[in-house]
């Protein structure tokens, strides 16, 4: 019984610690983001930032375009067949 309560308490504290760490990091990140702006901030941070943009964005673009095309097809297909089934009820 005691170990059960202890485990629940430890997990709760862990989760609360995670939320607290997340909040602190969010605030620090918002404060630090000015240093990597292009002209106002540090030049090397801006270079690192552009590098990250290439990694996050440009190389992910084909994959995301493919995913979007596939799900656009699926949405149009399902929506069209569904609306065709509902058509007698609407009109």
């Amino acid at each position: 019984m005691g170990s059960l309560i202890e485990g629940v308490g430890r997990r709760t504290l862990n989760q609360l610690g995670y939320v607290g760490g997340f909040t602190i990091q969010l605030w620090e990140g918002l404060r630090a983001i000015g240093t990597s702006l292009p002209i106002l901030g540090n030049r090397y941070r801006w270079k690192a930032s552009v590098n990250q943009m290439l990694q996050i964005g440009v190389s992910a673009l084909p994959m995301i375009a493919l995913m979007a095309v596939c799900s656009g097809f699926i949405l149009a297909l399902q929506g069209a067949s569904e609306l065709r089934r509902l058509e007698p009820c609407i009109t």
Binding site: G21, A32, T35, Q52, A68, A76
Partner: protein
């Protein structure tokens, strides 16, 4: 039908798809990068050299994600809507120009704006969850692997939770 594709993509599906893809692709990379820096004590070395790790490691990633994720979600909106037009052309011979005209008249600016606000929030969640998992690594190389898994799982989950929250907020603000 055309409304379904256009509004569904600009408001929900585009930002959500983009965020899930980016969290799988880049969130795990952030966690692995920072985690291995942590294991090899590079983070402590940065702190010794008076570089704040948040400013040195996290800020460029955060700025990049804040700029890139909305752009990617606009690209995915465009691709999805064009794919819907292609399907309409092949299934019902609807002229593409007519389709585009219909799409443009059915999208409203506030749909696109709510999608962009959502994707900013998703970018924040992905970067911060990935980096926090990386910074929390303690121990050896196996901890890096666990933190990578945790980053993907937590950021995908939090992205979907944030999507629900934003949809509820926009719904109750009357933006629907």
């Amino acid at each position: 039908m055309i409304d379904l594709v256009a509004v569904g993509f600009t408001r929900e599906l585009g930002p959500l798809l983009t965020a899930i893809a980016v969290s799988g692709r880049s969130g795990s990379a952030f966690a692995a990068e920072i985690g291995s820096m942590r294991v090899t004590e590079e983070i402590d070395a940065l702190r010794v050299m008076a570089f704040e790790p948040i400013e040195f490691v996290l800020a460029p990633k955060y700025l990049a994600a804040l700029i890139v994720v909305p752009c990617l979600s606009i690209a995915s909106n465009v691709c999805g809507i064009l794919a819907g037009g292609l399907f309409m052309f092949f299934s019902t011979r609807l002229a593409p120009a007519l389709y585009l005209q219909y799409v443009l008249s059915s999208i409203q600016l506030r749909d696109v704006a709510s999608g962009l606000i959502k994707s900013l929030a998703f970018a924040t969640i992905i970067v911060h969850v990935g980096c926090l998992e990386g910074f929390r690594v303690q121990g050896g190389p196996d901890a890096v692997g666990r933190s990578t898994t945790a980053a993907v799982v937590k950021s995908t989950f939090l992205v979907i939770v944030a999507d629900v929250l934003f949809t509820a907020i926009f719904y109750f603000l009357g933006m629907h």
